[in-house]
C-alpha cells in the first residue's frame, strides 16, 4: 500500500510516467529532488519559534497564514555541517502524507536549484550504502546532464524518527 503511494507520488497523479517533474535544491554541493506536486510553496527563511526538547534538526515552528508549521533543517537532518542562514536560504513547504492525514511541513535548504523532467526510467535505485547513509527515504538517483540528483521520498523522510505521527499510537 505504502509502496503504491510512493510510486504514484513519483509518477504524478495519473501515472503518466514521462512527465514527472522534480524540484531540486542544494545542500552542501549535493543536489536533492522532491516531487514537485508535493511542494506547496517556497518562502524565504524567517525566524522560527523553537520547540523545547526536540532534536536540533527540528528548527521550530512558523506561522504560515494562521497554521503552525514545523520547520526541519535538512543539513542537520542529514548530519551535514550547519550553514549560517543567508539571503538564499529558503524554506520549501511540503505536503506530507502521514497515515490518514496530510501534514504541512517546511524544510530548510541552502538554495532552490531547478525543475527537471525526470521520467521514471531515468531514476536508478540507490545502491546499498551499508548503513553509512540512511537510504530508506531515498527513492533513487538520477543523472541530469552531468550532475546527479538524489530523489527523496518526502513521506518517508518526514515521518521518520522524531517526526513520526505519535497520536495513532494512543496516549
Amino acid at each position: 500500500m505504502e509502496a503504491m503511494q510512493i510510486d504514484s507520488a513519483l509518477t504524478g497523479e495519473v501515472g503518466d510516467g514521462s512527465e514527472d517533474q522534480v524540484l531540486t535544491f542544494t545542500l552542501a554541493d549535493e543536489e536533492y529532488g522532491v516531487d514537485i506536486l508535493r511542494v506547496q510553496e517556497i518562502k524565504g527563511w524567517d525566524s522560527v519559534t523553537g520547540i523545547p526538547n526536540t532534536p536540533d534538526y527540528i528548527r521550530g515552528v512558523i506561522n504560515l497564514r494562521g497554521t503552525i508549521v514545523p520547520v526541519i533543517d535538512m543539513r542537520l537532518r542529514f548530519g551535514l555541517p550547519p550553514l549560517e542562514y543567508g539571503p538564499l536560504t529558503v524554506v520549501i513547504v511540503l505536503r506530507v502524507e502521514s497515515g490518514s492525514r496530510t501534514r504541512i511541513m517546511g524544510i530548510v535548504v541552502d538554495a532552490v536549484s531547478d525543475v527537471y523532467n525526470l521520467p521514471e526510467d531515468r531514476i536508478r535505485p540507490a545502491p546499498d550504502f551499508g548503513g553509512a547513509v540512511e537510504s530508506e527515504f531515498i527513492t533513487g538517483l538520477a543523472g541530469v546532464e552531468d550532475k546527479m540528483v538524489i530523489v527523496l521520498d518526502v513521506d518517508r523522510l518526514l515521518n521518520s524518527r522524531e517526526l513520526a505521527v505519535m497520536d495513532s499510537l494512543g496516549e
Partner: protein, 678 residues
Amino acid sequence: MSIDLSQFLETFYEESFEGLETMEQELLNLESGNHDPETINSIFRAAHSIKGGSGTFGLDSVAEYTHVLETLLDEMRDGRRAVTPEIIAPLLESVDVLRDMLTALRAGEEPDPAPVAASRQKLEAVLGAAGGGDAASAATEATPGAPAAGWQIRFRPHPHLLQTGNDPVRMFRELAELGDLEVEVDTDALPALANLAPEDCYLGWTLTLRGDVAREAVDEVFDWVEGDCDLTITPLDSAPPETPSAPAETAAATPSPAAKADAPAASAPAKKPTRPAEASSIRVAIDKIDELINMMGELVITQSMLSQLGEAEQFGPEHIERLRDGLAQLERNTRELQENVMRIRMLPISFAFQRFPRLVHDLGAKLGKQVELQLSGEQTELDKTVMEKIGDPLVHLVRNSLDHGIETPEQRRAAGKPETGIIHLNAFHEGGNIVIEIRDDGAGLNRDRILAKAIENGLVGPDEHLSDEQIHDLIFAPGFSTAEVVSDVSGRGVGMDVVRKNIRALGGTVEVHSEPGQGSTFTIRLPLTLAILDGQSVRVGKEIYIVPLIAIIESLQVDPEAVKSVTGAAQVYCLRDEYIPIVHLAEVFGVQAEARRLEDGLLVVVEGEGSKIALFVDDLLGQQQVVIKSLETNFRKVDGISGATILGDGTVALILDITGLIGLSRTRATGSDATRAA
C-alpha cells in the same frame, strides 16, 4: 414525492431527541404532583410529533411503538385515565426505549426489538387492551390512509335519507373529485308513480371509484349518512362487489392497508443510507445572528471611514486624530465581533443540567434515599464543546453526592436533619470562567477514613501531616476510587481521578470542600471556551511563552532569604509557610536564559494537578487573550506544551501546559528523562 427526505432526517432526529427531553421533564413534573393539563398536552405533542415524523421517514418500528404510547397519552389527556405513578413509570421507560431506538436508527442500525416489545407490553397492559388487537390497529394506523386501486361502494339509502338534509348528488360530486366515479343507479325499489311519496328516497346506487383514494376520504363523504343507509365499501380488486353484509366495513377494509403496510416495511432497510461521520450542528437563537449582522454593519462603516482617510490627497496632522479614532473604533468592533462569534457556540448550561432530575429520581428510588434536586443558574452559557465534555464528569459527581453524600432517611433523622436531602446544582460566571457547583447537605467526607485508606494505599506516609484540604483532595488521586472509601451500589469503574483528568483536559479545575455532617461542595471551574485562553506572556531569554492565567497563583520578585536549597540540587521557595519547588523554565526547555541569578528574574507561582511550582522566568510581559492553535495538526504533542498561538507581530509563541511541565520537572529532577523519551 420526489423530494429527497433524507436531508430532513437529521432534523427529525434532533427534534425527536429534544421532544424526548421535554417528555422526560414533563413526566417528572407530573410525578411530582403537577397535573396541569398543559403538562400532559406537551407530552402528548412530543410523542405525536415523533410518531408523525417516524411515519414520514418510514421508521415503522418507531411509529408503531409510539402509536401505543400516544393512545395511552391521549386517554390521559382526555381525562379518561387518571395520572398515577403506575402509569408514569412505564411512560418514563418508554422515553428511554424511544431514545435507544432513535439512536440506533440514527447510527444506521436496527434497534434491539426485545426492550421495545417488553416496554410495549407494559404500555398495553396499562391500556388494558389485548396485545394482538392493538398491534393490528397499530399496523393500520401506521399507514394512515393507505391508498388502494379504488373502491366499490354499494349505497342503499333508507327512505328517510332526504329528510335528514342529505343529498346523494352532492355526495357523488364530492366522490367524483376524489377519482374517476362511475355511478349505476338501482331503480328496483322504485314504486309505481301513484304510490310514490315525493319526500322519500327509493333509489340505490352502486358506485365505482377508481384511483388512489384513501379509505378515510371515502368514509368521510358518508360520515353524515351513517345509520341512514346501508353502506358497503369494498376495495376494488380484493372483494366481490356484492357483499351484502351492511356493517362489515372494517373487516373488508383491513386486508388491503395491511398488505400495503408490508411493502414499505420491506423496502425500507434497503433505502436507508449509511450515515457518514456525525456532522454535528448547533441551533443558534436568531437574536444572536441579528446582533452579528449589526456588528458587521458597524465594521463596514469603520472600514469605509478608514479607507476614506487613506484616500486623502494630503495626509496632514488633522488626519491623525481621525485615524486614531478610526483605529480605536476598529478595535472595539473587532473585539465585539469576536465576542459575539464566540457566543454562537455558547449554550445555556440547562442542556447539561436537564438530565439530572431523571437521574436523581431514578437513583434516589434505587438507593432508598429521599432527595430533592435544586437547580440554579441554568441560563449560564458555555461553549458547546465544553458542555459535551463536562456532561460525564458532572453525572459522576452528582451520582457520587447521591450515593456517598446524602444519607438514608433514617440516618438523616437521627442526625436531626430533614429526611429529604438536597442536592444543589449551581452555575455562574466568574471572570472568564464558568463555575459549576454540586452541593449536597449530606454527611460530608470522612476525613479519617480517607486518610487511613490513603496511608494503606501508600499515597501518604504514616507520619505526614496533611491539612483538611489536602486530605479531601486525596479522593481525586488515581487508584483511590470512591468505591473503596464508602460502600457503593455498583462498581462503576470510574474514579474521581478520571473526573479530575477529564476536567483538567478541558483546562479546568475541580475542588472539594466538605464539612462533617454538613455536606460537601464540589466546585468545577472551566474556561468558557476551548478556542481562546487568557494568557500571561513570559520571557525566557529570547523565547516568549504563554502561561494560562487560570494556573497562575501569583508572580513575585525573588527574596533571596526565602530560597532554600535541598541536598544542594533542588531549590525551594518559602512562601507563607509553604515550600514550593523552583523550576527553571530555561533548564527544563533547554534554552538560554538571560538572568543567571534568581534575584534578576521573577518567579511565577503556578498550580496544576494539585501541586504548585514556582517557574523562574526572565520577565513578565503582558496579559492577553490568545487563540489556541494546535501543534499536533502538523507536528506532534510536545511535553510541557499544550499548544501554540500567534502573537501580534505574526510570530509563534508556545502555550505552557502546567500539569505537563510539573511532570517534566519531576522526571528531570530524578534524572530519568532519558529513559522516558518513548
